[in-house]
Symmetry: none
Subunit: 225 residues, 4 copies
DNA sequence: AATGAATGAGATTTCATTCAT
DNA sequence: GATGAATGAAATCTCATTCAT
């Protein structure tokens, strides 16, 4: 019926490969069912090992969660920093490139599911919350803020409160990533839009706005903060 | 502001108030700790009753979750529909009004936390997923799409793929709501921006874009779908 | 076949009686099989409840052990102190009375088994070790030492190092108690002496010695310390 | 005194030394932590081998326990028998010599810890109980009883029930040995007596009694049984 | 022979749910 | 109805034992 049907489940020694296999299995299940609702031997079975083996590599389910998060984010940010520092050309292009890159590399990959786990669990794991803020949120925020500032200083972008604009910028990316791993994974009728196109439209709108002619908005006198 | 402090003599716990008290307690705890990690007698204690009493009203924790979700969304949408149908004036104003309204009435109220629960649990409760799509997502999407179409048809907005634009529009609202109930509730340093202002910046940017001068974007030749 | 044969194992509410029943069951099993080798649901079953109920009263097996020890020794020593303070007559009689009393009330009762548990487990539970020393060993040692000093000071006993003599005095009592709960409980042939008579012989020998005529012993010039 | 420090070049672990090293490691750990609470790879690590190697020599932890006990008692008794048979002189001296010898050779050596293990585990291992009775208790009891009888028959000792007197005689020896391996190994204040001196006082008291003048005891008309 | 990665039965503990009071 | 003591299925984690290398 499937791949491992006939051969006896002979015991395998794969010390090197095991951590990665376990982390992948754990990520998939934590994203699908949530951390608390995933039983530790489900993880083991999906990774093709026994319950005991899982505990040989990670001393508790909580440590496993931490390892999943760390492994997926180590050295993800550094890459983006290099791009920002070396880019020459219109800031709009740089911004669009960063956002498309994040979407390709994180948002629509398994690692994107980590956001879902984090949203659901941060309040139960303050230690992980701090780690995630320091290693992921903070550096990537800085990257985008630096880019916005570049645009404003070069006169390409209108003046803005950077922190808030940054959040408005990334919100649809993360939202789409969350969607893919929640509603998007359910067999529901009538939810058949294409996340990739949402990202493109978002980029377009962010840069150019909805209006055919710029309006003078009274309410939000936005200044670069 | 205080709930029921003055009027009720608080003599005996009123039977008819129980369901609401239980649902409120459950909502708060499910949002804070997640569904699986909330113990059913925590809910009971927070509602001021005993564990047994909880089961008198809801036959299982799962049914309680369903009731929490359903109760918080009954008749939330109808209100918006009336506004859209009767509004006269620039569509940009209508759109901004709808978004601010959602933020005030839902996003920054306890009900906003339901999104967090839904994200975390839909894949475990397909039944709820369908309900939520039918009762919440579908009608509010239609409302926004109708508004966008109004803008495009009146020549106020540039042509757009409605579905995708709609998602780009609501993403920061929902994202901020999720944030308030996850990272925003953790005592982390350096995450001290104001969600309300993010909403305002988002509205501003959505309408006018980042660029000082409109660019001709080649990549996304967005047409009204 | 037995007492609870026919009646359905109907759930009983016995909040008051439960702690004692659980402690008795735990004592018996810890003495018989040792602490580590006793499974917590064995304790529950012997007390006539379910595993869950045990944890309703004691939050862990270790806490259960502590409770067993404390409950069996609270106010056991005070009694002896009263006797020593009020006794008039030959110290030999007082000493014999104390020893026989201990044997009757502790050594040959279930509580005597606690010594066996303590011997086996002290090194794993330093906290309990301290408790036992403070509550049991220290006060009862003082009692015996006071008695020995009375004998020496009244010229009834030869001079002695009190601390060491005290240990020589109680050793057979405790040893017999340990024996009853270890070898004595095994179905072995040829170990059929009577512990009660050992105690009597010990008392006799302690007071009068083995020798028909007192010897002058060079080696141990024992002085009252 | 040092085991094998100078002679062996310690190049490769010698195969023939393994069993002894394993038994020593097991003895030390079983005495310290108890049988059930000692993990089998703790034993292996302490013996400087891997877990797998331990199972090459002993097929189960239970067999290891048996081996520990048996190995430590082989040919311990024979020695004593020779002494008793050949001794000439006062029986009191013989008795004192036997007791001091036991204390030196067994009680205060690692082998003394076996008593602790036996006390704790006999009821779980009936097979070992029988072995211990046959190989250790029975022969050494006989030795002491023979010595007591010699004393009584030569008119040196008062008439006694031999079996019971024998137990009264050895109790402090074993009790001190147990103490060294339980409470004595805990860092408790106020338990700082010297076991060696307890033994000496015990011998002194046993021979001469506490009383300055022999009393006529009515209660225990002890006759040689 | 020696190793230590892998296993899985079994232990402790939790908690949704039931039900006697 | 309301309570909370009682239950037991199920979850996490341990560790004696096995076996591929």
């Amino acid at each position: 019926m499937s791949k491992t049907s006939s051969a006896a489940p002979t015991r395998q020694r794969r010390k090197e490969a095991r951590p990665q296999e376990l982390l992948d299995a754990a990520l998939a299940l934590f994203v699908e069912k949530g951390f608390a609702a995933t039983r530790s031997d489900e993880v083991a079975v999906r990774a093709g090992v026994s319950k005991g083996t899982l505990y040989l590599y990670y001393p508790s389910k909580e440590e496993l969660l931490k390892a999943v998060i760390q492994q997926n984010y180590s050295g993800l940010i550094a890459e983006g920093a290099g791009i920002v520092d070396n880019f020459e050309g219109p800031t709009a292009e740089l911004l669009a490139m960063l956002m498309r890159m994040w979407w390709t590399r994180v948002g629509s990959s398994p690692a994107g599911g980590i956001h879902k786990i984090m949203m659901a669990e941060v309040r139960n794991f303050p230690e992980i919350a701090q780690f995630y803020r320091d290693e992921v949120i903070q550096p990537s925020s800085e990257l985008l803020i630096r880019t916005l500032r570049r645009g404003v200083e070069r006169g390409e972008f209108r003046p803005l409160p950077y922190e808030e604009a940054m959040h408005a910028l990334i919100a649809p990316l993360i939202f789409m990533s969350l969607h893919k791993n929640s509603f998007g994974a359910c067999p529901l009728e009538g939810m058949d839009f294409d996340p990739d196109r949402v990202i493109e439209v978002h980029i377009e709108l962010m840069l150019n706005g909805l209006l055919t002619k710029p309006a003078i908005t009274a309410k939000t006198t936005t200044k670069a903060s």
